[in-house]
């Protein structure tokens, strides 16, 4: 480490004002604080500080996303080889294919997002902040695998600039940046975001896994199938074999890379709750709200709205509901910040997600819109909760005046 430290010290002058690379000062500072805990000691206030910082917090969230990421890669390969009729191929080949398919998306997402963050930090002469660490991994997990890379790049740039940087950067945004990326793609290029061709990668990934698609192939997600079904909603996999709720729970269904496996998501949820990063109030109330709304819809089944025929548990296992509940709704920056507010916020996300799914057949997936909607309402919810504290204090003062 000594050599690295010496190297960093040696190159430092050229990054400082007047140096040749002064334009990259923020990048240097970012690298230095990444490699070495800053030696700065406290100047005012408390003399000791907790060891936790935003880097650690963000990296823990990334760690919680890893199970979903790994399973997502495997599932991309599984769906691909199923589609080209080679479902017997080894799991490692499937994983490798998925890795090669997803890697470019990850590179593009981080490249574009971090690039903009670096430039913005340099313009404002601020430290590079860690917010995009999580966003950068969320984007590949929620964008359909067949989205062209340039679309992902454009959407990421749009989201980072217009949903985050113009509000003041990490910690200041109103809407979840990854969801804005997804929403931008969804509304700008709707034909590429849903239907048969979005979620299963058929062509080869970086030269690997070419083959001919089997005749029975249909790439629609279970939720997509349900939305367009008539009568009893029976779900099938991409080659027409029926699938069960258990398949959806394990994750062998088409969908965005991160969202299919309930198991991988629950491992992530366990990490987030154990480390105390995500609010259990939000997470639990999203599930409660979703379950309640799904049960209500199921109790009043209607052929006009085929999704109402799904039983509530299946409803929660499908689509991005669980992924959104665990990783998106719990984003502390865009969610409600008061404890009471978090219950209301989560509950309404769950309710709206299922409401949109069931009663608006134009959007078979409701989670993204539900979270974005509640992001907008979170400050209002907090305002109401804080107002009750303000009123209590005012009443107390008024009672005191009366007494005297």
């Amino acid at each position: 480490m000594k050599a690295l430290r010496n190297f960093m010290n040696k190159i430092e002058p050229s990054f400082r004002p007047g140096g040749k690379l002064a334009k990259l000062e923020s990048v240097y500072d970012g690298m230095e604080t990444f490699l070495f805990t800053p030696n700065a000691t406290s100047r005012s206030g408390v003399h000791i500080h907790d060891g936790n910082d935003l880097k650690r917090t963000m990296i823990t969230v990334v760690a919680a996303l890893v199970p979903a990421l790994l399973f997502g890669m495997y599932n991309i390969g599984y769906q691909h080889y199923l589609a080209i009729g080679q479902a017997h191929i080894g799991w490692f080949t499937m994983f490798l294919y998925g890795l090669l398919a997803l890697l470019p998306v990850i590179v593009v997402s981080y490249g574009v997002g971090l690039g903009i963050e670096f430039i913005s930090a340099q313009i404002h002469h601020k430290e590079i902040q860690e917010g995009f660490l999580v966003t950068g991994i969320l984007i590949p997990l929620i964008v359909p695998i067949n989205t062209p890379l340039w679309m992902t790049a454009v959407a990421t740039a749009f989201a980072v600039i217009f949903a985050k940087e113009i509000f003041g950067g990490t910690g200041m945004n109103i809407f979840n940046v990854a969801l804005i990326t997804r929403a931008f793609l969804f509304f700008a290029y709707p034909s590429r975001m849903s239907g048969d061709e979005a979620f299963v990668k058929i062509d080869s990934a970086l030269g690997m896994g070419s083959g001919k698609v089997v005749d029975t192939f249909t790439g629609a997600t279970p939720l997509g199938q349900v939305a367009t079904s008539v009568g009893d909603p029976s779900m099938t996999n991409i080659v027409g074999e029926p699938i069960s709720c258990l398949d959806a729970f394990i994750g062998f269904i088409p969908g965005s890379p991160g969202e299919t496996s309930m198991i991988a998501i629950l491992i992530g949820a366990a990490i987030l709750l154990l480390t105390g990063i995500a609010s259990w109030r939000i997470m639990c109330s999203v599930f409660v709200g979703g379950l309640g709304m799904a049960a209500l819809a199921h109790a009043l089944p209607s052929a006009t709205y085929p999704a109402s025929l799904l039983d509530p548990w299946t409803q929660l296992c499908l689509g991005g509901f669980a992924f959104g509940a665990v990783f998106m709704a719990t984003d502390p920056v865009t969610g409600a910040r008061t404890k009471t507010g978090q219950y209301i916020y989560g509950l309404l996300i769950g309710v709206f997600a299922i409401l949109i799914r069931v009663y608006n057949s134009g959007y078979p997936e409701g989670m993204m819109l539900a979270i974005l909607l509640m992001n907008a309402f979170a400050p209002l919810i907090d305002h109401c909760v804080v107002s009750s504290n303000i009123k209590r204090r005012a009443r107390r003062a008024a009672a005191k005046v009366k007494e005297d």
Binding site: V46, R56, T170, K400
Partner: protein, 441 residues
């Protein structure tokens, strides 16, 4: 007697606690200083010049706005230096003791407020709102006195009190005559206070249970337009002593604590004593240490050639930086990197074990991201985070509505320690209080 149980907060357990209650006697100080910054809210106007002789209890300076508020010399001697910093701000008034024990004897029959102002004990008290030295002529609604210090490594105030305990009842009597309400004393379990006129409440729970602000908020909170006084039990006993003997006692017992102390112990010395004398033979490695007059949360950083600051009962010495250039500290799995959060592994080994902690900030300053960090450390019916945001944005109405009158910077000290975003909360609160005070006057 009521008992209040507080759940929020946290007891930080540091290495270097005092082992036993024996009190060693420090040498007579070579110099003694009064540090005006200790008495927030007072603008000094000197009454003594450099070279003049003072006796203990004689005024050194008074407040610009209230001439009656005096700050007195703790010892008899010669004013050696009025040390000034930027913009002629007075950093310290240094007295070289002459060894005599001449001191001012007051007439205890006179008006209580006048006597407190004259004796120099007035400035040892604080008022809410604003956490400043009380404004004379204003009757406080209540007087809040804390009988224990819950801060990390804090001294046992019963030890600091010593035989001054006998004056508590008299002190309560005096303060009771100055307030319309009650003298409310907060004690911890197992303590007892022998003062019939006081309203005693037991507080059970972690730090900051010993803060007067927390005690007030959980018994009779401060409303807009009200004024209360706050102080610790030692100041109360000093007041009792003044009204019994006519003299102010300026000696004090100081706990010398912390990892970098040779042998943590109690030492008896004098208010404002020079640290070179107080810390003789106690320092292990001056270059690597940070000396704090006070506790690690609210104390002030001092050098060894400076003096003991208010509240004159605690010195903590901890390492400045015990892991320079720590490689990728944010990725650490080491249980020695202390964090109260479960993102690190410290909690696996138990958070209550004594730990070594240094002064590194361990992260960059960020916008507030995580929720509930401040509220978990603030046992008051206040939305800490929203109040901090109101202060940062300078929204006076919001600050009032969210309860700024109830708080002091020290109440946010623990939240500042725990803050993932590393904001300087105490500084923010102090600036907010000062701004509000300027607006209201």
């Amino acid at each position: 007697m009521a008992t209040v149980r507080l759940k929020k907060g946290f007891d930080i357990n540091l290495l270097g606690a005092v082992g036993d209650n024996a009190i060693a006697k420090a040498d007579f100080p070579q110099s003694v200083a009064v540090v005006p910054d200790d008495f927030h809210g007072i603008i000094p106007r000197m009454e003594k010049k450099e070279g003049e002789h003072v006796i203990a209890g004689e005024p050194l300076y008074h407040d610009k706005n209230h001439e009656a508020i005096k700050v007195v010399a703790p010892v008899s001697g010669t004013v050696k230096e009025v040390r000034r910093g930027e913009r002629r701000h007075i950093d310290a008034i240094v007295i070289i003791p002459d060894g005599g024990n001449e001191c001012v004897t007051h007439d205890t029959k006179q008006d209580a407020e006048q006597l407190l102002l004259q004796s120099g004990l007035w400035v040892m008290m604080r008022q809410r709102p604003y956490d400043v030295v009380p404004v004379p002529g204003m009757k406080p609604r209540d007087v809040f006195v804390t009988a224990f210090d819950s801060a990390p490594l804090a001294p046992d105030l019963d030890v600091v009190l010593g035989d001054k305990r006998q004056y508590i009842a008299k002190g309560v009597e005096v303060l009771d005559s100055l307030t319309d309400g009650k003298v409310r004393i907060g004690i911890r379990e197992g303590q007892s206070i022998d003062a019939p006129k006081a309203e005693v409440t037991t507080f059970v729970g972690p730090h900051p249970a010993g803060n007067t602000g927390v005690q007030a908020a959980n018994t009779v909170p401060v409303n807009k337009g009200e004024t209360v006084w706050t102080m610790d039990i030692v100041t109360l006993a000093r007041i009792g002593e003044l009204f019994t003997t006519g003299k102010v006692s300026h000696d004090t017992v100081v706990a010398i604590t912390g990892e970098m102390v040779q042998q943590p112990r109690y030492v008896s010395t004098m208010m404002g004593a020079d640290l070179e004398t107080v810390l003789k033979n106690e320092l292990t490695n001056v270059a690597m240490s940070r000396i704090i007059s006070g506790n690690v949360l609210t104390g002030v950083k001092v050098e060894v050639n400076q003096w003991l600051c208010a509240p004159y009962r605690h010195i903590t010495i901890i390492p400045e930086n015990n892991k320079p250039d720590e490689f990728m500290g944010w990725a650490s799995f080491s249980p020695s990197r202390f964090s109260i959060y479960r993102t690190f592994t410290t909690w696996l080994g138990g958070l209550s074990k004594p730990r070594s902690m240094d002064c590194r900030i361990k992260g960059g300053e960020r916008a507030i991201v995580r929720t509930d960090e401040y509220d978990a450390m603030l046992p008051m019916d206040i939305y800490g985070e929203f109040l901090i945001k109101a202060i940062i944005s300078g929204d006076i109405d919001k600050m009032e509505q969210l309860g700024i009158y109830e708080i002091a910077p020290e109440d946010f000290a623990l939240a500042e320690f725990a803050d993932t975003s590393k904001l300087e909360l105490q500084r923010i609160v102090r600036e907010g209080l000062d701004k509000l005070r300027a607006e209201m006057s």
